[in-house]
Amino acid sequence: MVKVYSFEGCPWCDKVKKYLQARGVEYEVRDVEESEEAAKECLKISGDLAVPVTTIDGVNYVVGFDKRKIEELLATA
């Protein structure tokens, strides 16, 4: 399952979500502002709280709205 670490009102997070929706990719939203657990996970994955962070396995991830990198990530799934 694709996970998107994000928070409400983050324009780049919204772009990633819309992009995944348009691609028909299901994803789970992990809100790093609302959930301390999600924030900790995000820190563990990327070492930072810059979002969106898109990941499938929690090891490989993409920070920000980078279509090319997100495509590469999806291709590994």
Binding site: F7, G9, C10, P11, W12, K15, E33, L49, A50, V51
Partner: protein
């Protein structure tokens, strides 16, 4: 009437009376996680660290009303937002700060201190004004909160002493805080 007549919702959902801050100098700020445009958290934290032992508190009110429309993001390389993490001053629950749905505290604050324009010398003033004129011209009317990081300075007696727009950096109001401490 003073700010002590108001309550604010804490992150845990409890109502906290601002009267609990009686006798302190307060800086009330509407905050937002940053998307490469308003890096004021660090400076606010510095103010807090410098004056907290002298009776100074910062009360942050996160608000999403201005999110998603960060001016200047079109031509920025950066395509991510950073969550405010590691600030030790008080952050209340998310809520509205302008319009009919605004929290009563912010209706009171903006009625006490009017909008007197942006400091056009601040590098962000022009893109901010352009973005507002283009996307939210109605925001520029009246005295409501214009954008993230509008700051209200409250004296030890609960009086609203000053209002600083997003175009005034936290560092530059240190002298105003000192004058009240």
């Amino acid at each position: 009437m003073s700010v002590y007549d108001f309550t604010a919702k804490t992150k845990r959902g409890e109502e906290k009376s601002l009267a609990d801050y009686k006798g302190k100098v307060l800086l009330i700020v509407n905050t937002a996680s940053k998307c490469g445009f308003t890096p004021q958290f660090e400076e606010l934290q510095k103010l807090y660290d410098a004056y907290k032992d002298k009776g100074f508190e910062i009360l942050g009110f996160p608000c999403n009303q201005f999110a998603g429309q960060e001016p200047g993001t079109n031509d920025e390389v950066q395509s991510f937002c950073k969550v405010n993490y590691g600030v030790t001053f008080t952050i209340f629950a998310k809520g509205d700060v302008r319009g009919e749905t605004a929290q009563p505290l912010f209706k009171y604050l903006t009625a006490q201190k009017k909008f007197e324009g942006f400091d056009m010398n601040h590098p962000v003033a022009k893109p901010l004004l352009d973005a507002l004129q283009k996307n939210f011209p109605e925001y520029l009317e009246g005295d409501g909160i214009k954008w993230n990081f509008t700051k209200f300075l409250i004296g030890r007696d609960g009086e609203v002493v000053a209002r600083f727009e997003p175009t005034t950096t936290p560092a530059s109001i240190a002298k105003d805080i000192e004058a009240l401490l």
